[in-house]
Amino acid sequence: MSELPGVRTDAPTTGPVTPVEVTDGSVVAVHPERTADPLTLRWYVPGPALPRAEEPHGGGALAALVALGVLADAEIGPEGLTTTLASGRSWPQEGAAVREAVQATVAAARARPARPPAERDAALRQLAELVVGGAGPYAASHGGRIELVSVQDDVVSVRLGGACHGCPAQAFTVHRRLEADLRHGAPWLREVTVVEQRPGAGSGADCALPEGSTRRPLVLFRSRPPGV
């Protein structure tokens, strides 16, 4: 005789006596979908794509679940919001808590007033100058050089020089280090593009895209934020 989980065998009793029962309409519509990894669920969220959270793991409730060790990871990525269960946990057990955390995160992301683009770019430029300084020595140690060309519309353009130029490892270098480091501090980063090196072109100091240069997006694979 098996009981059916989730189905009530008794009719619910009458609720508290109030003049009118009103359903709380504040629940965020989401539903989970399976991914290749049984521990990872992708949460579908209707409406426009979520802005990337500025904090790791989407911040707030989800980050708290990661901190608690319920989740191994949570991320607001380009395909939506994914949550990865920590080993030893099960979805039936943690599902409700994760769902609520996802809803809280989505609600927070939607409620967050969008920062004006100019402000975002300014913050991103500030960060990029720092990070290029950080990646620079790394590139330089291989005989290469990374130069910040421009920051505009959440896109960071860089120029690779020296041994870096045309090097097959440049994708790794730029993405793994640069993009990850940038996104860590500025989750709204859209992409990092590489500008072809032109002899005699202006230096990165003017932060404007040189005339005639073409952008080549480097979106070969996505990186996880550092610290994972």
């Binding site: 609720g15 003049p19 009103v22 359903t23």
Partner: protein, 98 residues
């Protein structure tokens, strides 16, 4: 099903604009309305079934026609046409269009 009941009186006055609510029974042929809830006097199993039939808060409803002998009444609710007797429509609270 959790029966979330919001005590309307506890909400700040500004968030409760004056609404014309009434029971579904007052709707005349061709009238549309928005469901705001089900009367707490409604027995729980009936409330459950009404919900499953689509009589949930925020659903829009339209009164299609009354049966020739006065009862029951046919409504468009969700994607279906359903007929109910007055005994049931009295439980359903709707917000009338201004």
């Amino acid at each position: 099903m959790s029966e979330t009941a919001i005590d309307v009186t506890s909400l700040p006055p500004a968030s409760v604009p004056p609404r014309r609510t009434a029971s579904l029974s007052v709707l005349r042929r061709g009238d549309g309305a928005r469901i705001v809830g089900i009367d707490a006097a409604c027995p729980a199993p009936v409330m459950q079934r009404l919900c499953e039939l689509g009589f949930c808060a925020d659903a829009t409803i339209e009164c299609l026609r009354r049966a020739p002998l006065g009862s029951p009444t046919v409504y468009r609710i969700g994607d279906a046409d359903l007929c109910l007797r007055t005994s049931l429509t009295d439980y359903i609270q709707v917000e009338l269009p201004a």
